[in-house]
Symmetry: C2
Subunit: 421 residues, 2 copies
């Protein structure tokens, strides 16, 4: 009975979000920006409350013995709150995608057909320990006319609730419905299951923000579309025609700039004729503190190379470890990537435009690069201003998911009384 009551409450939350979304869908850009700025101001004004809620979350995490990396993600301070507010202000400055005419044409019978951008609807955001996701994912969704239903992790529940409360006040101050930001009021895991089923037909899309096990569960169980990537097993292929100084710099940056991001390279593929000149790449990586696991040819280049095993080609290390193997040409590289890759981001280094174009065509990943670091896999670096994540699914959104990817479209057809013969 108590359980039923919770489930009914959640469905009602979804219905209120859907009703609020109908208002948000037609809200002028000015009003959405006012709300984002009011939310930013409210978060700063409420800093003491939010930090107190966060301190309670952190205490509970310490008592529960949560691992240090999660505890770090959970912790808020004045600097992090200021960064959250600044991100909201940045999103307010981005152009509003809603209403954009994507295409327009006139038919011989005089009908004018316009393809117009509209919000997707209600977006369920399921996240873990990082409470700032409440504000940044919520803000991207709001700016693109979507309502959100947030489900924060139990470890960050108090912090997320305090931030969501600031968002409600900001929305109301701008004359928008507070229900546009719904927050699941329980840490009961059954709520996640209900969201993955679509919460009684009220959720149009799920965006997970968290580790691989969360994303895997969501991909497995969701009955509504999901924008996510499970992992980023990104490759750099050093072609025989590469500039090897450039190749070493790109390999080093792709792997070591930040090893924990999804766009970090995990495997380097060396074109067979490039084996000897690639010794410098191996040395550069090892000297930068990266463990290199190589096939027999690579191991022969440097005694510090650890022999790679089959599992290495399928591993996203997210650490200062890289696997390196020799392949035969663009086709060999593309075959390796097809077999072991995750359709996320893959790069070729070469001075041959022919080889580059062949690679860009053959490798069917969301992002394929020529002579650039895989770490450019990021909405900000693409010029999207902000992103809610990277998608490796094939439909609707691939690559960085920014404001535009949080919209869909409809056709407006304007006639003068046309009948179909």
């Amino acid at each position: 009975m108590a359980h039923d009551a919770v489930l009914n409450d959640l469905r009602a939350l979804g219905e209120r979000a859907r009703a609020a979304q109908a208002v948000l869908a037609r809200a002028p850009e000015r009003r959405k920006n006012d709300a984002l700025l009011a939310i930013a101001a409210e978060i700063l004004a409420r800093a003491p409350d939010i930090l107190a809620a966060n301190a309670a979350d952190v205490r509970a995490a310490n008592e529960a013995g949560l691992q240090p990396s999660l505890r770090d993600r959970l912790r808020l301070d004045e600097v992090r709150l200021k960064a959250i507010a600044t991100a909201l202000e940045d999103i307010a400055r981005l152009p509003d995608p809603v209403g954009e005419v994507i295409a327009e044409w006139r038919r011989p019978n005089g009908l004018l057909i316009s393809r117009v951008r509209v919000p997707i609807g209600v977006i369920g955001i399921i996240y873990e320990s990082r409470p700032g996701v409440t504000a940044d994912a919520g803000a991207l969704a709001l700016k693109s006319g979507n309502a959100v239903i947030l489900r924060g992790g139990s470890e960050s529940f108090r912090s997320s609730r305090a931030i969501a409360s600031a968002m409600h006040t900001g929305l109301e101050r701008a004359g928008l419905p507070r229900d546009a930001v719904g927050m699941i009021p329980t840490t009961n895991r059954a709520a996640v299951g209900m969201m993955l089923e679509g919460l009684g037909g009220t959720i149009d899309l799920i965006v997970p923000r968290g580790g691989k096990s969360l994303v895997a569960r969501i991909a497995r169980e969701a009955r509504v579309p999901v924008f996510s990537h499970l992992e980023g097993i990104c490759h750099v292929f050093v072609h025989a025609g590469a500039d090897f100084a450039k190749a070493a710099a790109i390999c080093l940056n792709s792997k070591m700039r930040r090893t924990s991001v999804c766009g970090a390279a995990e495997t380097i593929l060396i074109d067979r004729p490039a084996l000897v000149p690639s010794a410098a790449i191996v040395r550069t990586l090892i000297e930068a503190g990266c463990e290199v696991r190589g096939d027999a040819d690579i191991a022969a280049l440097d005694p510090r190379v650890v022999p790679a095993v089959e599992q290495d080609w399928a591993t996203e290390y997210l650490d200062a470890v890289v696997s390196i193997r020799v392949v035969d040409g663009v086709v060999g590289a593309a075959n390796h990537i097809r077999r072991y890759g995750s359709q996320h981001t893959d790069a070729i280094v070469t001075e041959s435009d022919t080889a580059a174009e062949q690679f860009l065509d053959e490798v069917d990943s969301a992002i394929v690069l020529h002579n650039a670091s895989t770490q450019f896999a990021d909405g900000g670096e693409f010029g999207f201003g902000a992103e809610i994540g990277i998608a490796t699914g094939r439909l609707h959104a691939r690559g960085p998911v920014g404001l535009e990817q949080l919209t869909t479209f409809k056709y407006k057809v304007r006639g003068q009384g046309q009948l179909r013969p």
Copy 2:
């Protein structure tokens, strides 16, 4: 054991389709067109075989006592085969969407980012009695670089197999892999379940072609994306500011041009001030042989009106029956459509541009029209050349699904050695 063998065979079919798709994705337009023309020629050359297979299907359907409308859909003759071949030739003439640069921009750091159209991958097409779907859905998928896995209904199994065989020959004649058209070799219903699960990760998208119960099952069970519409409860709203002669013509065409199509109007909404002048609309429909079910106000206009019940507003008649009710203004119409509609196609008739634009904004259906018949909901009428169906989902494809909607995109990023700071 025998069951396992079938399942393994199906998975192998999926893997062969995926491998063939990698070839098709990079096939030049010319070669795909050659294949489509070769398939058209092969279908005509094999007419005796195909018609013999079809005659066997028809005999079995007669013996099984299949309903007459399904038997009609099943039947092929010289004229229908010729139409299938002509449709293939038409698809060969449509522009190839693959490779199109949808957007391109240069970043301040010199990176050139291009968003390029690529095929979706492997498309599962699940259909019922109409064997021609084998060729037309298959051809649209092929032209856009996708492989297909076809699962025809058991009643049309022999006909579909004969057509698929002609497609294999046509593909090979053009130097393309026959596995680009996979056909489920069994009428076992478990095969549909496997396709809805994605056939071991080999199917990217399902397109159902059939009646409501097939589509409902697929929407319920599919674990991969589906392009479909469950029903088309389409509305015409006659605004107070309408030209009533135009309104009568649009209502008549929207309802009665063809009553069995998904874009046929099922409900007419009359703006309260337009009640009296709308009597002519009611009369026109009744005199054209349409049963009118109306609310009390509408029933008062004409003694031949049948009183409508609640269920009428939620019914897709697909027949010469229409429900009519009075609403209050654009907002009343939009509220009715939000509650009872199917987000397919809805129209307003008015001479007021303000009212029209309000309706086009507020009604969130795939297609919204001003002063035109709802029966324009069709890929051909949109200028897409051909369509595989109409989608009412919110993501990726909404409205008519043509060649462009059977593609996705990837980002090609071209640099000169850029590293991420």
